[in-house]
C-alpha cells in the first residue's frame, strides 16, 4: 500500500496534477451524463465532436491567458484584453469588409497586420502607464478596458460588421491536418511563449521581477523594460484572440467580442497555479486552466443546465476546483486521515535530508 502511494507521489506532487485531475473529473461527469460526450468522428475530413469544440473554443482564451500569465507573473494585471480583442477584430474586419476582394490572402494579411499593429500600440500604452508613469496596473488597464470598448465600437460604428472572407474565416474555423486551425495557432503560441520564457532567461527574469522588483533592480535587471514588454505581449496575444473570436462568427461585434474574457483569463491563470501576487508562473497550468473554464462553459450547455442556475453551478465548480488545489485544504483533509493510517512520508524523507 505504501509503495503504491510512494510510486504515485511524483505524479500527485506535480503542480499540474490537481488542475489536470479536475479537468478529467469534469469530462468524466459529462461522459456519464451523456455517453456521446467524448465521441469524435471525422466529418468532411475534419474532426468533429464536443472535445474538438472545447479545444477550438478555448483557443482564444488560451491565447489571452498566456499573455495574462506573464503580466500576472510580474505582479500586474491586464483588464484591457477583452477590449483589445474587440478592437483588433473590428479593425481587421473593417479592412476586409471595405476591400475590393475580401477573399484574397493579401487583403487578409494587411488587415491582420493593421490590427496587430494597433494592438501593439495599445499594449505599449498600457506598458508606459504601468512601467514608466507607475500607475497601478489594475487602474492603468481599466482605462483602456473602458475606452477600448468605445474605440472598438467607433471602428464598427456600433454595428456588427459581417464579412465574407474565406482566409479570415479559416483563422477561426479552418482545419489543418483534420485539426481546427485555431487549436494549432493557440498551441503554436503556447509553445512560442514557452520557448521564449523557458529556453531563454526571460522566464527567470519575469519571475524575479514579480517576486521582488527592488531586489531584481539591484541585481541588474531592467525591471521597467520587462514590465513594459509583458503588457505588449499580452496585447499581442489578445489581438490574436480577437481575430479568432471574430473569425469564428465571421463578424465583428465591438460590444460583445471578448466581453469578460479578462475575468476568464485571470481565472484560468490562477487555477493554473500562478499567484496573483506575482513571481512563479506556469504556462502549462494556464493552458489547463483555460481548458477547465471552457469545459465548464460547455458543460453548462451540454447538460442543459438552466440559465437561471448555470451561474450557481459555475460558482460551485470554481470553489471546488480551488479547494482541491489549495494545499491548505488538502493538508487539513490529510491530517484527519493520518489518524487512521500512518503517513508514509516521514520515514522516506528522513534519508535524503540528513546531510552527509
Amino acid at each position: 500500500m505504501t509503495t503504491v502511494a510512494d510510486r504515485l507521489r511524483p505524479v500527485t506532487g506535480h503542480r499540474l496534477f490537481w488542475p489536470a485531475l479536475v479537468l478529467v473529473v469534469m469530462i468524466a461527469a459529462n461522459t456519464v451524463y451523456r455517453p456521446g460526450f467524448l465521441a469524435v468522428e471525422v466529418k468532411n475530413g475534419h474532426l468533429y465532436g464536443t472535445p474538438v469544440d472545447i479545444l477550438r473554443l478555448s483557443a482564444p482564451l488560451i491565447l489571452v491567458a498566456l499573455g495574462m500569465t506573464l503580466v500576472i507573473a510580474t505582479g500586474g494585471i491586464d483588464l484591457s484584453v477583452g477590449s483589445l480583442c474587440a478592437i483588433s477584430g473590428a479593425i481587421a474586419c473593417l479592412h476586409i469588409s471595405r476591400a475590393a476582394d475580401p477573399d484574397s490572402p493579401s487583403t487578409v494579411l494587411t488587415a491582420l497586420a493593421l490590427a496587430f499593429g494597433a494592438a501593439l500600440v495599445l499594449g505599449a500604452w498600457n506598458g508606459v502607464l504601468v512601467a514608466v508613469i507607475g500607475i497601478q496596473p489594475i487602474i492603468a488597464t481599466l482605462i483602456l478596458m473602458v475606452a477600448g470598448r468605445g474605440i472598438a465600437q467607433l471602428v464598427t460604428e456600433g454595428q456588427i460588421i459581417t464579412i465574407n472572407s474565406g482566409p479570415y474565416r479559416a483563422i477561426g474555423l479552418g482545419h489543418l491536418l483534420t485539426l481546427p486551425l485555431a487549436v494549432l495557432i493557440a498551441l503554436a503560441a503556447a509553445l512560442l511563449v514557452a520557448a521564449f520564457t523557458r529556453r531563454t532567461a526571460l522566464g527567470l527574469i519575469v519571475e524575479s521581477v514579480g517576486g521582488n522588483a527592488e531586489a531584481s533592480r539591484l541585481a541588474g535587471i531592467r525591471s521597467r523594460r520587462i514590465v513594459f514588454l509583458v503588457y505588449v505581449v499580452s496585447a499581442a496575444c489578445a489581438a490574436l484572440a480577437g481575430f479568432m473570436v471574430t473569425a469564428n462568427v465571421s463578424s465583428a461585434d465591438g460590444n460583445a467580442a471578448g466581453l469578460w474574457i479578462e475575468l476568464d483569463a485571470i481565472l484560468a491563470v490562477v487555477i493554473g497555479g500562478t499567484s496573483l501576487a506575482g513571481g512563479r508562473f506556469s504556462l502549462g497550468g494556464t493552458v489547463l486552466g483555460a481548458l477547465i473554464i471552457q469545459t465548464l462553459t460547455t458543460t453548462v450547455y451540454a447538460m442543459n443546465i438552466s440559465p437561471q442556475t448555470s451561474l450557481l453551478f459555475k460558482a460551485v465548480v470554481v470553489i471546488a476546483v480551488c479547494l482541491v488545489q489549495a494545499p491548505a485544504f488538502r493538508a487539513r483533509f490529510r491530517r484527519r486521515r493520518r489518524g487512521v493510517e500512518p503517513g508514509p512520508a516521514a520515514p522516506q524523507r528522513e534519508k535524503e535530508q540528513v546531510p552527509a
Binding site: S208, S216, R217, L218, G279, R349, V354
Partner: protein
C-alpha cells in the same frame, strides 16, 4: 541566578520536519527565570525554528512545551504573547507602512473607551525609545528608517510587554557596539527583574558578555546545555560545528592588512565629490584594484548611502564616479554591473533575495542579468557554479532547488554573497555581509575577502563590527552624520579605539590619507 527555581519554560522532545528538511529532532530546552540563556548553533541548526515552534508559528510534529509547569500549545504568536512570551524574531518583522509609534504598540495600544489614544501612544513610544537611546520621529513611517533602527524598534516593542519570557533571535546582528551595549544594559535590568531571556547570536563575545547559560544545537539536534563559565570559547565552537576545527586560531592568525596601496596610475574607482541631498554629503573616495576599503561609522551615519551611490542604486545629484580613469556615467545598477561592480545589500529581505525563486536561480540572477535574457546561463554551468559556492560557503541544506525562502537567515545571506561572487566583479560592495552568519562561515567569508582582494578584486566592506573592518581593510573611511570625515590608513597605529575617537571627536579631516 535563579537556577534553584523551577524553569519557567521547558521544551521536551521537540521535532519538526519541513518538506525535505528535518529542522529539529528530539530537542530539549529549558529556561529559568532571571537568566539570560544563549541558544547557539550554526546557520540552519534550527534555532529560529525552535523559537517559532515555541511561539506557535509552526506546529510541532512531536514534543511538549510547558510554561510555568503547565503544558501549553500556542496556536500563534498572539496567544504566546498573551501568555507572557514576548519575541523579537530574526529579520525585522514589523510593518513598515505604519508609524514607529504604532509598530511599538500595535495590538496593545493605549485606549479610552475603545478608542486608540494617539497622543498617549506617541508619548509612550518616545519614552520607550529613549530608554534605548533612540530619538526618532515616532509619527514617521517605520520604512523611512534604516534596518538597524527598525531592529531597535522591534526590541522596544518586545521589552515593553510585561512578559515573563523574552526571546531575542539575533537582535544584535545589525547593531553597532553602542547599541549593543544599550541593549545589554536593558537585558540585564530585565533579567534582574526576574524575566527569563532567550538570546540568539553568532557573536561569541556577546555570549560570554551576557549569557548565564548556553544551549547548543547542531543539525537540528541538541548537543547540550552548559553554564557559560564552564564552557570555554573554543569548545563552544567545537560543539557547534561538531568537528575539532581550529576556527578560532584561524581567526586570530589573520594579520593586520598590509598598508601598501597598490601602485597604479588610475585607481579602479574614483568617486569625485559624489553626494545626494538629504542622504550623504559630497565625498571623494578612490579604491584601487585589490584594495579593501572599510567603512566605519555609527548606525545611521550614512554608510549604506555611500554604498548605494557608488552602485547607482540611488541617483547621485552631485559629483560623479570614474572607472579606470575614464568617465563613464554610473547612474543605474545595470551600468554599475556592466562596469564590474557588485553590491550586496544589507537588507536581504527587501532588497536581496527573491523568496519564491530557488537557491540556484537566486545565485545566478545577477550573472544572468548581466548576460541579457537572450543568453541564458547553460544549465550545466549553473549547476557547476552553484555547486561550487554551496560548498565554498557551506550553504545548508545543500539542495539548490529549494525555494530560498525556506533557508535559514544566515544561509540566505550566503546565497546573496554567492550571487555576486559568481559575477566576478572588479569592485564588490559588501554592506554587512556577515550579518547573521555563524562563526565558521564568517571566518570563511573573511578569508574569502582576503583571497579575492589578493586576486585583484577591490572590496568596499561595511560592517557594524569594527574589529572585522579593521581586520580586513587596507584603509578605513570614517562616516559621521552622513559625512565622510576621514580616511585612515590601516597601519599598526590604527586600532578600534582610534577609529572610535575619530567617529566621536571633532573634524580630523587632516588625517585623510590619499
Amino acid at each position: 541566578m535563579g537556577t534553584g527555581e523551577r524553569p519557567v519554560l521547558t521544551m521536551t522532545g521537540i521535532s519538526k520536519t519541513f518538506p525535505g528538511v528535518r529542522a529539529l529532532h528530539d530537542v530539549d530546552f529549558r529556561l529559568f527565570p532571571g537568566e539570560v540563556h544563549a541558544l547557539m548553533g550554526e546557520n540552519g541548526a534550527g534555532k529560529s525554528t525552535l523559537i517559532k515552534v515555541l511561539t506557535g508559528v509552526y506546529g510541532t510534529d512531536a514534543g511538549v512545551v510547558t510554561l510555568n509547569g503547565e503544558q501549553v500549545s500556542f496556536s500563534g504568536p498572539m496567544q504566546a504573547a498573551a501568555a507572557g512570551v514576548s519575541t523579537v524574531y530574526q529579520e525585522v518583522n514589523l510593518c513598515t507602512n505604519l508609524s514607529v509609534a504604532e509598530n511599538v504598540f500595535i495590538g496593545r495600544e493605549p485606549r479610552r473607551l475603545g478608542a486608540v489614544r494617539w497622543g498617549e501612544m506617541r508619548r509612550r513610544a518616545r519614552e520607550l525609545l529613549a530608554r534605548l537611546d533612540l530619538d526618532l520621529d515616532v509619527t514617521a513611517q517605520l520604512g523611512t528608517y534604516s534596518l538597524a533602527v527598525q531592529q531597535m524598534v522591534a526590541i522596544a516593542r518586545a521589552i515593553d510587554v510585561r512578559a515573563r519570557v523574552l526571546i531575542l533571535d539575533e537582535p544584535t546582528s545589525s547593531l553597532d557596539a553602542g547599541e549593543v551595549a544599550q541593549l545589554f544594559r536593558i537585558m540585564r535590568q530585565l533579567r534582574d527583574e526576574g524575566i527569563a531571556i532567550l538570546f540568539v547570536t553568532h557573536f561569541l563575545d556577546q555570549v560570554y558578555g551576557i549569557a548565564d547559560r548556553i544551549t547548543v544545537l547542531r543539525n537540528g539536534t541538541l548537543v547540550g546545555e552548559y553554564r557559560t563559565e564552564e564552557l570555554p570559547q573554543f569548545s563552544l565552537v567545537e560543539k557547534m560545528i561538531g568537528q575539532e576545527l581550529d576556527v578560532l586560531e584561524r581567526l586570530d592568525e589573520q594579520q593586520k592588512r598590509a598598508t601598501v596601496a597598490p601602485a597604479g596610475t588610475d585607481p579602479l574607482v574614483d568617486a569625485v565629490e559624489l553626494g545626494r541631498r538629504g542622504a550623504v554629503a559630497p565625498f571623494s573616495l578612490r579604491i584601487e584594484a585589490g584594495e579593501v576599503v572599510g567603512l566605519a561609522g555609527l548606525l545611521g551615519s550614512g554608510r549604506t548611502e555611500v554604498a548605494r551611490l557608488l552602485f547607482g542604486a540611488d541617483r547621485a545629484d552631485h559629483g560623479q564616479v570614474r572607472l579606470d580613469g575614464g568617465r563613464s556615467p554610473l547612474r543605474t545598477p545595470v551600468q554599475a554591473i556592466e562596469q564590474g561592480i557588485g553590491f550586496c545589500s544589507e537588507n536581504r529581505r527587501a532588497e536581496g533575495i527573491v523568496p519564491e525563486l530557488s537557491v540556484r536561480e537566486n545565485m545566478i540572477l545577477a550573472m544572468q542579468a548581466a548576460r541579457g535574457w537572450l543568453r541564458p546561463v547553460p544549465r550545466r554551468r549553473q549547476d557547476e557554479l552553484v555547486r561550487r559556492y554551496v560548498e565554498a560557503l557551506s550553504i545548508r541544506p545543500a539542495n539548490p532547488e529549494l525555494p530560498v525562502r525556506n533557508l535559514s537567515g544566515g544561509n540566505q545571506q550566503k546565497v546573496l554573497l554567492a550571487r555576486w561572487l559568481i559575477t566576478e566583479p572588479r569592485l564588490l560592495i559588501l554592506d554587512e555581509p556577515t550579518r547573521g552568519i555563524d562563526v565558521g562561515a564568517k571566518a570563511e567569508i573573511q578569508k574569502l575577502v582576503v583571497q579575492l582582494s589578493d586576486g585583484g578584486m577591490a572590496v568596499l566592506f561595511i560592517s557594524a563590527e569594527l574589529e572585522e573592518v579593521l581586520r580586513l581593510s587596507h584603509r578605513v573611511a570614517v562616516m559621521r552624520d552622513r559625512e565622510m570625515v576621514a580616511q585612515l590608513t590601516n597601519d599598526d597605529s590604527l586600532d578600534a579605539d582610534r577609529v572610535m575617537r575619530t567617529i566621536a571627536s571633532g573634524t580630523p579631516r587632516e588625517e585623510v590619507t590619499r
